[in-house]
């Protein structure tokens, strides 16, 4: 349905970044509203990294995958 538009390095970077952000948010390193923002961004990075599709790339027909 949707074409994968992330290269392997992109996916690995997103998953690592997602885990770090979730750790900062959910792990209680950053508390309050900022923590929630980090949670949301972490979840988005993790999800887009796992599925290999970035919806933000789509309207611009951009892709890191060659």
């Amino acid at each position: 349905m949707f074409k994968v538009n992330e290269a392997n390095w992109d996916r690995i970077a997103r998953v690592v970044l997602g885990i770090v952000l979730l750790y900062l948010g959910l792990g209680g390193v950053v508390a309050g509203g900022m923590g929630i923002v980090l949670d949301i961004f972490g979840a988005i990075f993790l999800l887009t990294g796992l599925v290999g599709i970035c919806p933000l790339y789509m309207p611009f027909k951009f892709s890191t995958k060659k």
Binding site: N8, R11, I12, V15, G18, I19, L22, Y23, L26, G27, G28, L46, G49, L50, G52
Partner: protein, 181 residues
């Protein structure tokens, strides 16, 4: 007995799919109709041998077969594919194709990078949930971690395979003929 089996395999003019079974094994009986259909379809191109696991324990041990039914595809006497457990016709077809062509079947399921990413993400979510003592939101995170980790290895899980093939068979079941309807 063992040497005899391998000798026969080498000398057989056609590729062979060997069905290791036992009379008491329910899943073995379950795949019997599928195997009959496939062996009829591939008649003259691929031979199907049945080996009673109870009668040849040494052979099974030497082939490292620890569960039945196990189907092993041989091309020119060399093993090219094997599958353990009950399966749908669609899942058994690649065995016959592999025996015929001698090419190893393409393994379906997630790619290596996908598996690695999913396992890593699942483990990270699990660790976060442990840190949060599984309370409230963290219980959800733990569940999510389990699902993500399982999605990395679902195709290797015999329970999932058995359940999904049953479910597929149920969904694709042709409507029963009602006499007199």
């Amino acid at each position: 007995m063992e040497n005899n089996f391998f000798e026969r395999l080498k000398q057989n003019p056609r590729p062979v799919v060997v069905d290791f079974w036992a009379p008491w094994c329910g899943p073995c009986r379950a795949i019997e109709p599928v195997m009959k259909k496939l062996s009829a379809e591939y008649a003259g191109r691929v031979d199907v041998w049945k080996v009673n696991a109870d009668e040849q324990p040494d052979l099974l041990r030497s082939l490292r077969i620890y569960g039945i039914p196990t189907l092993v595809a041989y091309h020119n006497g060399q093993e090219v594919a094997r599958r353990t457990g009950a399966a749908s016709p669609a899942a058994l077809l690649p065995l016959f194709e592999a025996a015929l062509s001698g090419d190893k079947p393409v393994r379906s399921g997630p790619a290596a990078l996908d598996r690695l990413l999913r396992l890593t993400a699942g483990a990270a979510l699990g660790i976060l949930a442990i840190q949060g003592h599984f309370s409230g939101l963290y219980l959800f995170v733990a569940g999510l971690g389990l699902v993500v980790a399982f999605s990395a290895v679902y195709d290797r899980c015999p329970i999932y395979r058995a359940l999904s093939s049953r479910l597929k068979a149920l969904l694709h079941k042709e409507p029963a003929n009602h006499p007199g309807a």
